[in-house]
């Protein structure tokens, strides 16, 4: 969180397009964000808003075609991940950036033991011997809270519960002590009591290891509990970005405002009727020349239909560093 320190990850103007028979899908449209050392950046947005494609693009995990990462820079330290060779990128993925995906069953290989899968990156990227890797793998499994870790290395994924498999995925992602951990909806498939265990684990690991984390979710409750900063995505774009408390206390973008109102509360006043956001999420074909939220926005005016708003700070900070929002109404009316 150290302000002023160089970010570990700095993404600028990332653009990803899918070529489909129905035309080009602009899945990620000029997305910029950075990640400070030790920071947890929460990414929220509804399904199809571009959260996963953003993260997969920056680490070269999208098959091309149909994907085409068209522009931008992705600086990890002093290297641009969009410019390095496929071999280098593979090393980065194994050793510098750890990944955890939504469904732990599809991302673990059912025919190898859990131990083998944790040891593999240790042997490949850290140059450990099999013996060393085994010791480290047991440590990692214990670190993520699996009891009797050394013995459980011999288990196969199907012998673990969903929550345990997600812990294994986290162990693998942490194996090479990465600078950045990217977690894409890691608890969405889990029950709330198991989710609570994983969130607790992550808080604990952050204190122990101090790595920077990108945490993708559509659950604002999860974000509220663990993020330092939040980036809200809609229609392939970052529409708002702010420190977590600002975002919840002082949401600016009409989508963020509406979203916060539409979720019922567990402890607060019980509303007689839920607020709704009318309409449907956008279909992202065609170049985005207008605000992606225009058809559902209560504040939309003429300009919104002809010009895609840029992110502007509302607090005088540089865009990305404080609270910024991409909305003509906020710029012209709310914060004129």
């Amino acid at each position: 969180m150290a302000d002023g320190a160089a970010p570990v990850l700095d993404v600028r103007g990332l653009k990803t397009v899918f070529r489909t028979r129905g035309g080009e899908v602009h899945a990620v449209n000029s997305v910029s964000f950075h990640l400070n050392p030790g920071e947890l950046l929460g990414v929220v947005g509804e399904s199809g808003s571009g959260k996963s494609v953003t993260m997969m693009s920056l680490i070269g995990l999208l098959p091309s075609p149909p994907a085409d990462v068209r522009g931008g820079t992705v600086m990890l330290g002093n290297r641009d991940l969009l410019k390095i060779s496929a071999d280098e990128l593979r090393d980065v993925r194994g050793a510098k950036v750890g990944f955890v995906f939504q469904d732990p069953m599809t991302s673990l290989n059912p025919v190898f033991t859990v131990g083998n899968q944790i040891m593999e990156p240790l042997i490949r990227h850290m140059g450990m011997s099999k013996k060393q890797a085994q010791v480290r793998a047991a440590e990692l499994l214990a670190l993520v809270g699996i009891p009797d870790a050394a013995a459980r290395l011999k288990s196969y994924p199907h012998q673990f519960s969903g929550g345990m498999r997600q812990r294994v995925m986290i162990a693998i992602a942490l194996a090479c002590d990465p600078d950045v951990l990217i977690a894409d909806e890691p608890t969405t498939a889990l029950d709330v009591t198991i989710q609570a265990q994983i969130l607790e684990l992550v808080k604990d690991l952050r204190q122990k290891l101090g790595m920077a984390i990108v945490w993708i979710t559509h659950d604002l409750g999860v974000i509220a509990g663990i993020a330092d900063r939040v980036m809200v995505m809609y229609g392939g774009q970052v529409v708002e970005q702010a420190p977590v408390k600002d975002l919840f206390a002082n949401p600016q973008h009409p989508y963020t405002r509406a979203l916060l109102k539409t979720i019922p509360s567990l402890t607060g006043e019980r509303e007689a009727r839920l607020q709704v956001i009318e309409g449907q999420p956008p279909i992202m074909t065609g170049a985005p020349a207008a605000c992606p939220f225009r058809d559902r926005c209560a504040h939309a005016f003429a300009r919104c239909f002809v010009e895609n708003p840029e992110r502007r700070a509302i607090d005088g900070c540089e865009v990305g560093k404080g609270h910024d929002v991409a909305c003509h109404w906020v710029a012209e009316v709310a914060h004129a």
């Binding site: 929550g163 609570a196 559509h218 509990g225 509406a258 539409t262 979720i263 019922p264 709704v276």
Partner: protein, 353 residues
């Protein structure tokens, strides 16, 4: 909407419901055990009421819903809907009873036949259960489309041309076709985006008001259940842990599992989220094929004591209208002298943060 104090007859009455799925193993496929998906569940639902059914994946919620509609042949117990014992009806009587009870499913994609038009899908139950002519059916289909907010122009389109929220509306229209009194909504919003969930929930509430519907609303979203349900049943491993009026449950859950479950829900409020005392349960839910001998929750309960490992607690009314299955409330020694201190002592292991 509902005054529980008034002596009205329940529309749905479930007693001792059991649904076991047999496990066969070995080359002789011998019956070696059972998955006790639902193991002795009792509750009532009043006319016009929404009963929320919550609990973690695999605890038996869908099985309860399906058993109520006789989509399974149940292992034991009784299910009465509107005075008829659904569980024992013969084929023809069951067919006649079907229109009264309907289901809305989680995955609107999977539950709609991709080759049928929207009008065919909504009209299908009318074909099966009425001898109406085409005009009358079409009029009813339009009426239903209006009721759920689907434009009549869409009548000849196919499911894949619709969004998730719209597909859920199609499923709801079909469920309404025969004027049911009782609808099991099995995770009707789980597959939808947050911004679309509220649209569907509001629709379900409007329809309930308009047609006097009674709902069993199955969900793992405890905030949404608080919004829509009048009373809530919390299930754990095939049994009901607590059944209480909504406000009472959310304000002060009595069963240790209900308490832990509610405390695990992330609240969208950074200050609250970081200050709240959370109960982090250890371990996982045991297998329903091999539940613990005593209380089903005893392997994870922060307040467990000796009796819990020996005897299954029965669901009992511990406060007016509040039903709890836990020895803390039934065993005088536990609830009185040791109850409070046990709770404290075990909080140390169960609570972190």
């Amino acid at each position: 909407m509902l005054d529980v104090a008034k002596p009205i007859t329940p529309l749905v009455q479930v007693r001792g419901l059991k649904m076991y799925f047999p496990i066969y193993s070995g080359i002789l496929r011998r019956h070696t055990g059972d998955v006790k998906a639902v193991d002795g569940v009792s509750f009532d639902i009043m006319p016009g009421e929404t009963l929320g059914l919550v609990g973690e994946s695999g605890c038996g919620k869908s099985t309860v819903g399906r058993a109520l509609l006789r989509l399974y042949e149940i292992t034991g117990g009784t299910v009465e809907i509107n005075g008829t014992d659904v569980a024992t009806l013969g084929t023809e009587d069951l067919r006649k009873a079907r229109p009264q009870m309907q289901m809305v499913f989680q995955d609107p994609q999977a539950s709609l036949n991709p080759r049928m038009t929207l009008a065919d899908i909504i009209g299908e139950p009318l074909n099966e259960h009425t001898d109406w002519d085409g005009d009358r059916k079409l009029a009813r289909i339009y009426e239903l489309m209006d009721a759920v907010g689907l434009n009549r122009r869409f009548a000849n389109r196919f499911p894949h041309e619709f969004s998730g929220g719209q597909r859920q509306r199609i499923g709801i229209a079909r469920a309404l076709a025969l004027n049911p009194r009782f609808i099991v909504c099995d995770e009707p919003i789980a597959a939808l985006d947050v911004s679309i969930q509220a649209q569907v929930v509001n629709l379900l509430e409007d329809l309930q008001e308009k047609f006097g519907l009674t709902y069993l609303f199955i969900s793992h979203d405890l905030s949404m259940v608080r919004h829509i349900a009048d009373r809530v049943a919390v299930m754990y491993l095939g049994r009901i842990a607590e059944l209480s009026p909504r406000d009472a449950l959310y304000a002060r859950p009595l069963h240790p599992y209900a308490e832990a479950l509610l405390s695990a829900v992330p609240e969208p409020d950074p200050t609250l989220a970081r200050s709240r005392q959370r109960i982090i349960l250890q371990g996982d839910v045991p297998s329903p094929a091999n539940p613990p001998k005593g209380c089903n929750f005893c392997t994870r309960c922060p307040k467990v004591f000796d009796l819990c490992r020996q005897v299954k607690p029965e669901l009992a009314e511990v406060e007016p209208g509040r039903f709890v299955a836990c020895h803390l409330y039934s065993d005088p020694t536990a609830a009185g002298s040791t109850g409070a201190s046990t709770a404290n002592e075990h909080n140390q292991q169960g609570v972190s943060l």
